[in-house]
Amino acid sequence: MIKSPSKRRQLSDRNIILLFILPTMIILVLMNIYPLFYSLYLSFTDYSVISSVAPKWVGFQNYQTILSDTRFWKHFAITGQYTIITVALQMLIGFGLALLIKEKFWGSGIITTLILVPMMLSPVVVGLFWRLMYHPSYGIVNYLIGFRNINTAPEWLGSPTLALWAIIIVDVWMWSPFVMLLSLAGLSAIPDYLYEAAAIDRAGSWFIFRRITLPQVMPLLLIAVLFRTIEALKQFDLVMGITGGGPGDATETVSVRLYREAFQGQFDTGLSSALAYIVLIVIIAISNLYIRQLNKVREG
């Protein structure tokens, strides 16, 4: 008689599946899902991690405090301004570089690698280095752009208007290569025969760029915009490295303010949780808009 396999002690396929999935699920729940919901709960309380008092339910009070405080609105305005300018510049420069690098020329491989270097550095290191380079007395930036006199040279990190631009320049320097990389992937995926067909159809180069190149890379450009927007809205490490939010609060992005609320002064965990939720909702809303646009581009 043949022994039926079920008689033997062995793992069923179902159990094997569970064995593989469970560790991930447990980690996900412990590290992501539980904190997500716990912080949601905390955002409705007046809890502080350094006090020994249990969280007390205060309803929407934290949200009200944030949304009615003009200082918080200023952080949102700074973050928004920063996001729009950096993403726009990165898209222009990144896509422009991709169009140049796409043509193979002598040394184009090594140039591509060099352009990608800033992206591979740690943001905090980048921030600290640039702070040195922006320094009014011994920084190299002013020297390079022609201001040799310390008394008349712009104080990049001391002036409220220039400080934001200083961070924008660093962010653009650091992340345009990322846009370039995605654009290059998009450009090289356009089949040659489309350009051949367009040449036969007597299209000029600007017409080809507008009607073929741009629409064909558009999905990848939108993905680049999406990634860079999310990152810009969360901008924290570069700001901390370069200005620390200053001068005053001129470059204090929402994330920097969030950090201050959560881990400095009062350690106001409840309020900072509420702020974190507001940022999350904004990011999800904007991402959804982009993704909808992306799907529209793909389906037509």
Binding site: P191, Y193, L194, E196, A197, A198, A199, I200, D201, R202, A203, G204, F207, R211, I212, P215, Q216, M218, G300
Partner: protein, 362 residues
């Protein structure tokens, strides 16, 4: 409308020839088919005519104007690609309108022309959809519409039916032929399918090994192949080619068979071959069965092709020839069978030069 002329046009990649120096004239309104096995240089030739590929040397003239170094967009041509090359991000309407938009035509005029060409190809119902979701046949119709919407001087087609199902191919073949007759535009058509070439071409240019083997009407390349390659390549199956030794009006085929050369061919064989090896060529339909036939063979296999059967006959040991027979005739394998070759349809080739012998006028 254009007359296209190639003068000593060649394409080299390093030392290797993709196309050996060739001369070719395509007359205004002709439908010329470039036919050959893959890798013979036919597509390269077409791409050189279009300007998508540069020539290594030689001159290309359109209507006596030198276009050798002109960009494809300056040659006033339409090109139909094997894999359609439609703009995937545009609707079919935008695809067809593209060449008109590119040359800056007016909106109303574009609409009118797109409508007319869509009617002609019966694709009006597809105009709003994107090419990605369409069948191969429909995509190629859209590609044809894009080529036809502008009135170009010449149509260049690179195996336009190669990517389609057999069924669609026949329909589209007829459509392209009909379009050509309506438009009467100079057309150069590349294919590896000799049936397609026979059915469509006013003139067939048979290519192999980077050079032209023969250029002529479909009937010429079929009945009077210029060399052994063309004889084998054209027809399915190709021409039967049997090598034998010639001497004084008789060809000895194998051990058992003697073939008497028709009287009008004798002078030609006597002068070119004298005494020696010669290749006898005949099409399967040139075989005439008769009990008194001078050639004896045995049946190797018998394929029924519907309206007729194709007999495989062992004429010489290990040398099978094909013969077309009535489908009602019964032949057992191994039967011996006698036949003659229609003296009108027999051809001779010199095995050394591989070239066909020409009849000498008496």
């Amino acid at each position: 409308m254009a007359t296209i002329e190639l003068k000593q046009v060649e394409k080299r990649f390093g030392e290797a020839y993709a196309v050996k120096p060739m001369d070719m004239t395509i007359n205004n309104g002709d439908f010329v088919v470039l036919l050959g096995p893959s890798g013979c240089g036919k597509t390269t030739t077409l791409r050189m005519i279009s300007g998508l590929e540069s020539v290594s040397s030689g001159i290309i003239n359109f209507n006596d104007k030198d276009v050798t170094w002109l960009h494809p967009s300056e040659r006033d041509i339409a090109f139909v690609f094997q894999f359609f090359a439609l703009y995937s991000h545009m609707t079919c309407r935008e695809n067809i309108a593209f060449p008109l938009r590119a040359s800056g035509e007016e909106g109303a005029e574009i609409d009118r022309k797109v409508k007319r060409v869509a009617e002609m190809l019966r694709i009006e119902h597809l105009l709003k959809s994107r090419p990605g979701g369409l069948s191969g046949g429909d995509q190629q119709r859209v590609a044809l519409a894009r080529a036809l919407v502008r009135k170009p001087a010449a149509f260049l087609m690179d195996e336009p039916l190669g990517a389609l199902d057999a069924e669609f191919r026949e329909t589209m073949r007829a459509e392209i032929k009909r379009l050509h007759l309506e438009q009467n535009a100079t057309t150069v058509y590349v294919t590896h399918d000799q049936i397609e070439a026979m059915a469509m071409g006013d003139k067939i240019v048979v290519m192999s090994a980077a050079e032209i083997q023969q250029a002529g009407t479909p009937l010429e390349v079929y009945y009077d192949p210029a060399n052994l390659f063309v004889a084998r390549f054209i027809g399915s199956p190709g021409m039967n080619l049997v090598e034998g030794s010639y001497s004084e009006g008789k060809i000895k085929l194998g051990d058992a068979n003697i073939y008497c050369v028709p009287q009008d061919w004798r002078a030609s064989l006597d002068t070119t071959i004298g005494t020696g090896e010669v290749v006898v060529g005949f099409r399967p339909e040139a075989v005439q069965f008769s009990a008194q036939g001078q050639l004896g063979s045995s049946v190797y296999a018998n394929d029924l092709h519907g309206s007729y059967s194709m007999l495989h006959l062992e004429l010489i040991k290990d040398n099978i020839v094909n013969a077309r027979a009535d489908r009602r005739d019964r032949h057992q394998m191994g039967d011996s069978i006698k036949f003659d070759i229609d003296p009108e349809q027999v051809r001779f080739f010199d095995p050394k030069t591989e070239k066909a012998l020409q009849k000498v006028a008496l």
